[in-house]
Subunit: 353 residues, 3 copies
């Protein structure tokens, strides 16, 4: 998209959704405006992160990208935590994970596969990713499973949550060390493609940092406005928090990844598309979710890491099908169909809850 147009839309939508919020327009109008605005501020935040990462040098830059790549989701989630909407936080994290693994990956594979008969990517990276995703599933499954079967006291279950959250963050940090320091050649394919879709940065170093700060602040505002409209949907329209969090919030918050991954797949860079989709899921499961457990302590409202059985089931089936499809390092359109089908099945199931 043309830069000028992008910034115009960004500012107009940001201002409009601010007005809608403070002038108490109808909740629907507020929701639509802030949802549109968040598409743009998330895109802006992504570009600013990339640009700062570029100046920070390869290693620190990679770290920044890996850590702030899901900044928008994280900020939205922090506001949800602050409001005590823990169920919606977990639903939106679940939705972000399955949205990336099924919808982002599925559409990339499907649309890429309609153009190219077979698309290949680095099988070793896929294998590592799938082991990490299995760790994530285990990290979410084990505490929930144990607490459900053994009637833990709230204190014990809180301690277990903190322990598991700590372990997942350590695992994520060591993964960054592994993939950026000791075995960074594994990631070469991805960086190369990332280099291409990131273009060379249009902004100076100072401006990039300024933009990163501005974008973060804007994301924070719009997220708060968006979160503020959600109770309308649960109260008046009877949507479940689960469906709203897992499908509406997650799609809005991941729009940037969606378009980037699909575009890469259609340029036959399926490896980079896979990396965006799976990497983003991993980041949410291994970094964002556990970080929120600790962040919730700051608000004095401790959130545990215990997802509901249906959320864990949704994540687990997504990981299984995504792993099964990516394990041979080659994709075709029908594998994209399979992923999207599972997403639709889960969508119906969450909708009817």
């Amino acid at each position: 998209m043309n830069q000028k147009l992008f910034f115009t839309a960004l500012i107009v939508l940001f201002v409009l959704s601010g007005i809608a919020h403070f002038a108490h327009w109808s909740p629907i109008a507020q929701f639509i405006l802030s949802a549109l605005a968040i598409l743009f501020v998330a895109g802006f935040l992504g570009k600013a992160t990339e640009s700062v990462a570029h100046y920070a040098g390869q290693r620190l830059g990679g770290f920044l990208n890996a850590t702030f790549g899901n900044a928008a989701e994280l900020i939205i989630a922090i506001f949800l935590v602050k409001e005590g909407l823990f169920d919606m936080v977990k639903a939106s994290l679940t939705g972000a994970i399955i949205g990336n693994l099924l919808l982002v990956l599925g559409l990339s594979v499907l649309l890429g596969g309609l153009k190219f008969k077979e698309q290949k990517f680095n099988i070793q990276l896929a294998s590592h990713n799938s082991s990490l995703m299995i760790l994530a599933v285990i990290g979410l499954f084990v505490p929930a499973m144990f607490v459900m079967n053994q009637h833990f006291s709230p204190e014990k279950s809180e301690l277990l949550s903190l322990s598991v959250a700590g372990i997942l963050i350590v695992a994520y940090a060591l993964w960054l060390v592994f993939s950026m320091v000791t075995h960074k050649n594994l990631l070469s394919e991805v960086e190369e493609a990332a280099g291409e879709h990131g273009e060379s940065p249009a902004w100076s170093k100072g401006r990039s940092i300024l933009f990163l700060i501005v974008a973060t602040v804007m994301t924070a505002f719009v997220s708060e406005w968006l979160v503020g409209t959600l109770h309308t949907f649960t109260n008046e329209f009877g949507f479940s928090e689960l469906f709203l969090g897992a499908f509406v919030i997650a799609i809005v918050g991941n729009a940037a990844e969606h378009s980037a991954a699909v575009l890469l797949a259609m340029k036959n860079k399926i490896g980079a598309a896979v990396e965006i989709a799976v990497g983003s899921s991993l980041q949410i499961a291994l970094f964002v979710a556990p970080a929120l457990v600790f962040i919730s302590l700051l608000f004095g409202k401790p959130m545990d890491i215990l997802f509901t059985p249906i959320e864990i089931a949704a994540i687990a089936v997504s990981v299984f099908i995504a792993t099964s499809i990516s394990k041979d390092g080659s994709t075709n359109w029908y594998e994209g169909v399979l992923l999207v089908m599972v997403y639709v099945i889960l969508g119906f199931a969450f909708y009817f809850v």
Copy 2:
């Protein structure tokens, strides 16, 4: 088997089981005769389908084979649905899936493996099959899991069943497009072998169509007679519907696949044997089961797609072990032992229920 002998046995058994039914012979005699008769009418139906498929040309023929390959199971199941024996329908579908994945595949791999030290097959096809089986497991697991955990209203659970059934049928239809149109080279190995085990058709075009109609009608009659005897076993002998459906009905209904797959494996055509066993499971999970959900509407007795936890567990473990064994594209006798062992474990578990 000699053709003449086959037709003699077919007609004698069909007539005898008809007499047994209408003359109200003892239920045991009725059961044995109709079970024997169904072995032959299912074989006849299979041959007629193949023969019609041969004249229909490769593409339409493949479609016919893929869609009517499990016609006998479908017809038996329709009669069970008509009687409202939903539990037995689901048990028999479960039994057909695990019977194909464990017993048919297991015996093929075991007996083939006793003759040949190692048997190899197309790894790409195996990988696709396993992704499809995972979709099938997800399609059965997700609605059951959600409904169990969230106490859906009956209407919602019916809607969810219909949605999931629709998705599975669409996925199956797209799989036919994938495997017969856009990526049909994947299936070359199988078609070649199928050509061999199908021999050139002995019947003319007109006779083939006539035979297909006759075989379908015969299957329908014998199925109804067989189903009519089942209550005796549950009422008088204390067999559970689950065991009866999953092990007795399923073995009888799949006899044709059993012998075909084992014979192919012993000719070192393990790829074709795998395809028969796994393909048949896929067809039941992705086509027969969802189709029955829609067919049940015609009888005014809507059947949902909610399998019991132990049925889903049985299907899931079968898919896991079968996937694990077939993923390296090579088999040996011990892998056949593993499959059969899991079948026996499930058999004991269902028997003691």
Copy 3:
């Protein structure tokens, strides 16, 4: 370790822990002494088994090694069964399985990986091992799942336990036939390495047999003393039987495997380390656990094979992550981290139960 030193420590600790037991020293002292003693008697038993196996010739020797490799665990478990401590038996078996798959394998992969950037091993063996582990999980999962969902009578559940135990032992016996008779070339890599870590035997044939008998008797005594101290920990310190069995007993009982596997990995013989860790898990799941079900009949206190949901979950997640990591036939330090992380997560979960 120097042989003389080893035997001195062995005898001193054995005698001390005997004195502690019969003189009713404090339970803590008894526990520490018998735990230390068991490290040495288990090591002694292992060496004696290996030495006898060496004289028995390759085939019978392999069988001895495979069957008595976990003799210490088996003896400890027999004493627990005799005391009727069924929950602790199952916890310790669970602990031995997950300890081997996660801690032994994880530390081997991690420490080996810190020294060598990438370590490779026979992919075919890994594939077989993972199919066998899946059988083990199914064998433990199916009876527990069915009994939980269907309210079996105690007699039926006992019959089901015996049936499944019988099947698992048959599967294990056939695995020995497969891996030592019909397809023994698969194991060549491992035998070669085992030859190296076993050194040529220092003892004569007669002495080896004598030592095997003496070691077995010593193991039996120390095991009984150790088991006798456990109630102190559950009663006075509030440790759960589950944690004690799964983490304390299991680590003590597996110490020999730990050191052997880690040393092999650091010599870049990761294949042999994998085989020790996975082979030991398989032996416990497919031989020790079912054997105990039959042995319990001799004591007139029938133990079923029904593990608790959290034990089965722990075993299942361990198998998943271990399978995922070993399926590509290559390891690096981060994969070791993943395994250890899962072990730590499970450790916390069991601790807080």
